[in-house]
Structure formats: structure tokens, C-alpha cells
């Protein structure tokens, strides 16, 4: 069953054939992935998981890959300075490629392995690590990423090591003509290791097509805080982000994502809780306006019992923006005593905005506690009146309630510095609105 290929799909097929000889390593992984991609095509409305985010319709043309030139590197260096990454260990991918010159990994603790994915894949055994079997394999955009991946970070943290400084993974796309970039990074936390991973993904405006994947492998008792910042400006930009996480016994993974000023983004997270007693918390705040489209899709696979999963997403929508939340929690037959709770709450500031909420539970075990709630609402007039009756102007009252709505999501960020940083970004977004 081959469908008629769109011109973007045909271009991707041709581009892959042309590039195959020059793409580094993992040829089998790439070929297999490309075959899966061509079988399925670009995700579209007829694919259930992509029903509300029709990438095939959005992606009229496939943009070419591009290697950063000196000007792009200079601009990236400036941007990195203005990002104020502080003490972080910084790994930079520019236009899809790992860039050691822009990275600063000198501060990594001894024993922590940080390098380029291309180098790591010289050892064929590592190819299995960056594509965990059964996780996101059916998703054609994950396949496309595996086929085209240009570069990424390859990080291993040895057992029982606590990495105090955050590890910043910065995926930058330079400006200029339309182009695409594919990265895939891998982080392994050994038994009892812990780290904070701070993922920043941004373009410099324009018609960029970014496809990033992050693979996280948590050993038994490992703990990871993951903070993601997505910032892909441009009405015609496309950003697709995939997180693939596997978790060992008593491991903890807490993730928070801030999405704002992004034209079109799909963030999808596939997590498998493979052993007992682990905890996963996925949370985020999306601030959308204009014509922006942001999709958060989660698939949590409770493969072992006695684990806990929590999802909490808040979305503020203005203009004619579109928000999508899809959360699927699967509890396998043997996964007794699973404790799952999922919430998605959206606040609509405009009649033209749209929010799609689709929580889903697939439960095959009988002794579990799982719940979900999804709400779409507006600011409460009674609350606005209460604040006004204390002298706050209507605009001040609205702004205070919006800040509060955002803050309740941001409060889940454990790291105080990052929490305050995100809070001030959210604040800036909201105050821009009240001035408008």
C-alpha cells in the first residue's frame, strides 16, 4: 500500500539517497528507519496520534540540510552569550551538527563522558542505545530523525555520580534561507547517578525545519530533572521534538517544558517504566498567540508495577492559536499498583483560539489508581471583580490571574534559578499581552 507521495516526501526520499554516502555511521539504523518513513509518509490527520497536527499539510516542501558557515558560528556564539547559561556544562548543536568549538564541557566532572554522537557511533554497539527498541518506532517523524540525524551529543554519567552543574543541550538553527536540521542526543545515567538536563531549542526566525530527538536512559535509582525550552519563531517554521526515555528500578525523571514564541511545534514524549518503584513527572507551560500551533503528546508505558506517573500541563491561548494535548497512559497487565494522574488545563483568552485535549487511559491491570482531567476555560469574572473591588484595574486583575495560572505550573520546576528564569520569561510574555 503506497500512497501518492507529496512533493516534500519525494524530496526527502531523493535527498536521503543523495546523502546516504556522506552521513556518518549507523547505516543500517538509517536505512531501516528511512524504509519505515517511506512506508508511512509524513504524519497527517489520518494517523490517529497526529490527527490535530497535520505535518504533511504544514510541510509543503522539505528544506535542505545546511552546514553552518563562519557567520552562522559567530552569530551562534553571540546567542550563547546572551543565553547566560551560567555554570552549566554546555553542549551545542548548530544547524544539526555537534559543535565542539561552541560547547564548553571543560567543567564536566571526571568520569563523565561527553562527546559527539558521530564519534560514539564509530562503535556499532552504540547504535542500539540511541534507538531503544519499541519506543516511538511506529512514529514516522522519529524514523525520519533516525534516517537523517546529522549530529548530537553522546553523554554517559557513571554510576552513583551526582552531576551538580546542569548539562545544557543547546540546539540552535541559524538564520538565512530555508533549511532543516536533525539532531539526536543520548544521555545515560548509570545506577544511582543524578543530573539536571537543560534542553534549549531555538531558531533565529525564518523557515526552519527542526527535528530533534533526545534519548534518556535512566539506570536503577538514577534521578534526572529535565527542563526544556522551545523557541522556534517564524510563521513558517516547523519544530518537532521527541523524547525517548527508559527508566530502571526506583528511578526518577521529572521534566518541565516551556513553549512560547514558537510558530509550529510538536513535542512528543515516549517513556517506558521498565522496573518497579520508578517515578515520572511530565509538566509544562505553553504560551500561544497569533497563529501559533503547539502540540504536546505523551505516551507513558507502565511496563512494571508500583510506579507513579504525573502529568500536568497548562496552556494559555490567545489570538487564533491552536493547542493540542494528548496524553496516553498504558498500564500493562502485570503493572499492578500503578499510580497515574494526568491533568491538562487550558485558558482561552480569545474566541478564535482552539484547544484539543485528549487524555487516554489503556489499562490492562486490575489493581491500579489512574485518573485524568482536562479543562478548557476562561478567566473567572467573579475573581476579576473581586480583584477590581480592591482597586486593581481590569487589566491588572486579568494579568494577575494569568500570572497565577502560569505560576502554578512553573512551581513544579525544582531548580530555583531555572524556575525564576522561566517565571520571568512567562511574565514578559504576559505583560506584552496586557500592553497590546
Amino acid at each position: 500500500m503506497t500512497l501518492q507521495r507529496t512533493s516534500a516526501e519525494a524530496a526527502l526520499a531523493a535527498d536521503y539517497a543523495a546523502r546516504r554516502p556522506v552521513l556518518f555511521g549507523a547505516t543500517k539504523m538509517r536505512d531501516d528507519a528511512m524504509a519505515r518513513f517511506l512506508e508511512a509518509g509524513l504524519p497527517n490527520r489520518r494517523v490517529e496520534e497526529w490527527h490535530y497536527t497535520d505535518l504533511r499539510a504544514r510541510m509543503n516542501e522539505a528544506a535542505p540540510l545546511r552546514s553552518a558557515d563562519a557567520a552562522a558560528i559567530g552569530a551562534a556564539r553571540e546567542r550563547l552569550t546572551s543565553l547566560e547559561l551560567g555554570e552549566a556544562i554546555v553542549v551545542v548543536m548548530l544547524d544539526g551538527e555537534f559543535n565542539l568549538g561552541l560547547s564548553s564541557i571543560g567543567a564536566r566532572p571526571q568520569g563523565v563522558e561527553i562527546g559527539s554522537l558521530a564519534t560514539a557511533l564509530l562503535d556499532p554497539a552504540n547504535a542500539d542505545l540511541i534507538a531503544p527498541p519499541g519506543l516511538g518506532e511506529a512514529d514516522s517523524i522519529v524514523s525520519l530523525n533516525a534516517a537523517f540525524v546529522q549530529g548530537g551529543a553522546f553523554i554517559r554519567i557513571p554510576a552513583n555520580m551526582r552531576v551538580e552543574r546542569p548539562i545544557a543541550l543547546v540546539n540552535l538553527l541559524s538564520g538565512g534561507p530555508r533549511h532543516a536540521a536533525y539532531t539526536r542526543s543520548f544521555i545515560e545515567l548509570g545506577v544511582g547517578a543524578s543530573a539536571t538536563v537543560w534542553e534549549i531549542s531555538e531558531n533565529s526566525g525564518g523557515e526552519t525545519q527542526a527535528n530533534d530527538a533526545l534519548v534518556i536512559k535512566l539506570g536503577d535509582l538514577a534521578e534526572c530533572d529535565h527542563i526544556a525550552q522551545v523557541h522556534h519563531r517564524g510563521e513558517k517554521s516547523i519544530a518537532v521534538h521527541t523524547l525517548l526515555a527508559t527508566m530502571g528500578r526506583s528511578a526518577r525523571f521529572d521534566s518541565f517544558a516551556l513553549v512560547k514564541d514558537t510558530g509550529f511545534v510538536r513535542r512528543q514524549m515516549f517513556a517506558r517504566l521498565e522496573r518497579e518503584e520508578s517515578h515520572i513527572g511530565l509538566r509544562g507551560l505553553s504560551l500561544l498567540r497569533g497563529e501559533e500551533h503547539a502540540d504536546t503528546t505523551l505516551v507513558i508505558d507502565h511496563a512494571a508495577g508500583h510506579c507513579e506517573s504525573r502529568e500536568f500541563y497548562r496552556t494559555i491561548l490567545d489570538g487564533s492559536a491552536t493547542g493540542v494535548f494528548q496524553g496516553k497512559v498504558c498500564v500493562r497487565q502485570g503493572a499492578q499498583k500503578t499510580d497515574g494522574g494526568m491533568k491538562s488545563q487550558a485558558l482561552m483568552l480569545s474566541d478564535d483560539a482552539t484547544m484539543y485535549n485528549k487524555p487516554e487511559l489503556e489499562i490492562f491491570a486490575d489493581d491500579v489508581v489512574c485518573g485524568h482531567g482536562a479543562t478548557v476555560g476562561q478567566l473567572d469574572d467573579n475573581q476579576i471583580f473581586y480583584l477590581q473591588s480592591r482597586g486593581l484595574s481590569r487589566a491588572e486583575a486579568q494579568s494577575m490571574l494569568l500570572q497565577a495560572f502560569a505560576q502554578e505550573a512553573l512551581d513544579h520546576i525544582a531548580d530555583e534559578t531555572l524556575r525564576e528564569r522561566f517565571a520571568s520569561e512567562a511574565h514578559a510574555w504576559l505583560s506584552m499581552r496586557s500592553k497590546a
Binding site: D381, L387, S389, G391, L392, A397, M400
Partner: protein, 249 residues
């Protein structure tokens, strides 16, 4: 100070205030009593500018200025304060942040500079102590999870900080225990001043034992049907509203 003349207000098709006239002088404490559903809370909302109600006729003047031309925040900054019958919970808004925003809004509206933080903290702490509002309550989001009585104390705390010209207390006594009733009443009495007036809505003489009214007004079917001195409240306590509601039929 407050002059309400022939006020008519409705919500949707439902007429609630029906030609209400009431005058409250500077320094006066006016009690309003009346059966459930007679429109007391509605009156308090209409004075403070809630938008759900449509005023179809009449005037509400505060020191000669027509309040009906202003929105709720302008009225608040002009000196109207409503202590709500059911104060709202505002999740995510820290109580202190809210108090500061309200006090600064008043300062700005009155051409004063905003409060310095230490000054603000001191004023809140003093007022809180008098009203038995704990530090723990001040640290929580506004009214969230507060007991009924705690919410009422918080309302009076806000009134003490904002120093209105006209304080409207809508059943502030409901939900207060015996000790809290005394503490809150003392808080209100401390605010009594020659240039400040109060409208005290209540069902019970109990509150009026503490906050002694100068005048008592009976409200029924959307208007004031009888006005008298403190003795009127005592009479109502004995005889109820049957003499007033009967006319409705």
C-alpha cells in the same frame, strides 16, 4: 456621604432593586436587615460596581460623585470597600502580592507614591496581629483553603489596610465563632471615624451588640421599607419580617 436615590437594578429579566432610596451620613453606621433574597447583597454589588447587574434607573452618589459612571476599580479607589458575603479564593496569587498591588493601586489613584516594602510589611503585620490573622495565612494564596471565619478576617484586614470612605460589610458575622466575632467587630470599631461611613448587612442583633449602629433599615423586595434607630433591630429580633413581607402579596 452616601446617597442612593430611587435605584432600580436587574439581572437579565429579573428585577432585584426596585426604587431603593437610602442616605448614610459621614461617620454613620447604618445597619441593613431584611429577609433572604430581598436584595441586600445585590445592593452591595451594585454600589461596588459588579457588571452583571444593569442599573435601569436611579443614582448612587458618594460625596456627591456619581459612582455609576465608574468601573469597580475606580469606585474602590474612590473609597468604596465591600467585605464580601462569600470572599473568593484566588489560587496562585500570593496574599502579600495581592495586598501590595491593592495598596499601591490606592496610593497611585490618590496621587501618592507606592509603598516601600518595609513600610508595607509593617502595616500588614500590625493589622494582621489586631485581627488574629496568622503569618501562615499571609503566606498562602489568597483565601485558598481558608475557613469561613478566616476569610472574613481577611476581608476586614483588607479594609483596615485600604482605609475606605465607605465600608460595606455583607454578613461579615456569618461563619465567625464567638471570639472571632468580637475580634472582627473591634477591628471594625477601630476604623469608625468622623469621615467614614459603614453599611452593615446582617441578620442578627448579635453583631449589632458589638458594632452599634446609628440607624437601622429594613429592606424587603428590593427597597428600604422602614428606617429607625437601634431599637428597630431589637423589634425585628422579636417579631420577624412578617409585617414587611406581607405587603408583597
Amino acid at each position: 456621604m452616601l446617597e442612593i436615590k430611587n435605584l432600580h437594578a436587574s439581572i437579565g429579566d429579573k428585577k432585584i432593586l426596585d426604587g431603593l432610596t437610602l442616605t448614610v451620613k459621614k461617620g454613620e453606621v447604618a445597619a441593613i436587615m431584611g429577609p433572604n433574597g430581598s436584595g441586600k447583597s445585590t445592593l452591595s454589588y451594585v454600589i461596588s460596581g459588579r457588571e452583571d447587574y444593569t442599573v435601569t434607573q436611579g443614582e448612587v452618589l458618594l460625596d456627591g460623585v456619581n459612582l455609576l459612571d465608574m468601573d469597580a476599580s475606580e469606585r474602590a479607589n474612590a473609597g468604596v470597600f465591600l467585605a464580601f458575603q462569600y470572599p473568593l479564593e484566588i489560587p496562585g496569587v500570593a496574599t502579600m502580592t495581592f495586598l501590595k498591588a491593592a495598596m499601591n493601586a490606592h496610593a497611585r489613584a490618590n496621587g501618592q507614591s507606592e509603598l516601600q516594602t518595609p513600610d508595607f510589611m509593617r502595616r500588614v503585620r500590625e493589622a494582621a496581629q489586631k485581627l488574629g490573622v496568622s503569618q501562615d495565612m499571609l503566606k498562602r494564596p489568597l483565601n485558598v483553603g481558608f475557613s469561613g471565619g478566616e476569610k472574613k478576617r481577611m476581608e476586614i484586614l483588607q479594609m483596615a489596610l485600604l482605609q475606605p470612605k465607605l465600608g460595606i460589610l455583607d454578613e461579615t458575622d456569618s461563619g465567625l465563632d464567638i471570639d472571632a466575632l468580637r475580634v472582627v467587630s473591634e477591628g471594625v470599631n477601630a476604623l469608625r471615624a468622623p469621615d467614614r461611613a459603614f453599611l452593615v448587612i446582617t441578620h442578627y442583633q448579635r453583631l449589632l451588640d458589638y458594632i452599634k449602629p446609628d440607624t437601622v433599615h429594613v429592606m424587603a423586595r428590593g427597597r428600604i421599607v422602614k428606617t429607625g434607630g437601634p431599637e428597630l433591630a431589637l423589634e425585628l429580633e422579636k417579631s420577624g419580617y412578617k409585617d414587611y413581607v406581607g405587603e408583597a402579596a
